[in-house]
Amino acid sequence: MKIRLDNVVKTFDTFRAVHGVSLDIASGELVALLGPSGSGKTTILRMVAGLEYADGGHIYFGEQDATDIPVRDRGVGFVFQHYALFPHMTVGENIAFGMKVSKVKRSKQQMEARVAELLRLVKLDNLGGRFPSQISGGQRQRVALARALAVDPKVLLLDEPFGALDANVRRDLRRWLREIHEELGITTLFVTHDQEEALDLADRVVILNEGKIVQEGTPEAVCRNPNSAFVMNFLGDANRLGATVANGKAEIGGASLEAAGFGDGAASVYLRPRDLDWSATEPGIAATVTRVIDKPDGRRILARTAGGEQVELDVPPETVARAGDQGFVRIHRARVFAESASN
């Protein structure tokens, strides 16, 4: 099922949560809504589900205008961050709930067969008789997914599905969700504030800030070509250095970068720690090491430039550096943004 959001607006009291968001989701696509808290991503998801109504704009499911269809009749599967399993029902009863209340009547055998099938799909074959309080968080979230899938939803919506789980459980579940998505091919929209999760799982990432879409594209596109300082910062660690642009070149005390298309004046240069190197000799930006943090896959050097700005570098483990050392930061890759960016 194709989903289309057309200029959707939502206001809570006096606070604009979502400002005119338009978005097309192709049938069978797995899309992540990524943004910091308060960016409106959950509100958008809840509007698609029908758990909130849009104050303006339209939401289409296929060709049908679904804006005012109540959640009950919208045919979406919704998975909540905190699972929202019915605590007084067994896992099997939870999964069967949607079929039981459905207008489409099914026989007991049909329901049992479907529950068994779904339990197999989510790899919880023997847990049908347990209560939600008797299984782990990861298992609960899988039950929640099975429950949402039981009524053959047109669209699957997940609100921070792995937010309440441990890091390694989260990684496993992500891969597993991707597999299920490939198996079922159901259009899926999920919300997360974790960029790693979004990039790991989604076909397409929609990055939101303050109720607006800032950038959307494949993980590759948004990673390689962030269109703003916000996206650059949000997708991963980034250093910001002040620069001066003159004649298509950005000058940062000691280094010069290509900055075609920028007017003369102040600009910001954003640099990933991995795109920087430490050298005892010139060329580079003169800096003093303030601290070195050792990690399994390398070292992170915290340094202060001659201009007084903080820089962090991820360097190979054999790099020699100690607090107080003087040296030079070499830039392999960087992005220049106009000075308007607040951070």
């Binding site: 809570f12 606070f15 991503k41 509100t43 029908g50 979406v76 961050q81 929202a84 009524v151 309440a164």
Partner: protein, 297 residues
Amino acid sequence: MSAPLRKKPPRVGDTPAVRRTLLGFVLIVGAFLILAPLLVILYQAFSLGVGVFADTIAHPDTRHAIWLTVLTALIAVPLNTAFGVAAAWAITKFDFWGRRFLIVVIEIPFSVSPIVAGVAYLFVYGLQGVFGPALDAAGIKVMFALPGIVLASMFVTAPFVARELIPLMQAQGRDLEEAATSLGASGWRTFFSVTLPNIRWALLYGVVLCNARVMGEFGAVSVVSGNIRGQTNTLPLHIELLYHDYQTVGAFAAASILTVLAIVTIIAKVLLERQGAGRAGRPALASPAPAAQGKTP
């Protein structure tokens, strides 16, 4: 708080002297303040023998008082249960202007003296009251009749069910209901198969407390009932009447019935608490719902 197995310095405030003093104080006060009067009731009720006790209970006026009390409870408790569930639902599942105000309003009967409520009803529904003449013209008798007694009892017990449910339903959030609705359940279906099973113990607990209070209510009811023997006398009022008539044994016999009702209530309450109802109840199985993203700036 059991005695330490090994000899080690006591925790702060846990020295033997403090323990003995505190425990002794509480036990003595409890015995004189609560236990002794209860025992006296039973002792006095049977002081002239079981025969007199039985006669008192069998007296038509006493029997009528018991019946009226039970009838009042049968009407007031279900109505207040419905009110409590509706109020708790509205307060915890909806956002609306004046939500906090409604919570305060529901709590008012706890802080207002019941007799004030009785007098207020008199001024609203009595003959000189606001609606009195209109009701009288329509031939509806509210004051000094069953409706007045029920109304006064309901006023006093209005908060009981809601108070039990609100904290629980707040902790449970709206996730379960939203999940049920997104799976296609109707509002009624959601209420009966998802909401109700999750609040049932707290609800029963509230009902038990509400019932105990309805049956024992004196102040508000005494103003609006008119104390007509054999007609508008509830059990607590009847006890007072007997006492003023110097029928000590009768008063204590009637009182013992109320006491038995109270003991049954306490047993029910304890059983329910074992099931996890009440304020110290287990945390809701469902995790609290996260506030919807971006609801506040």
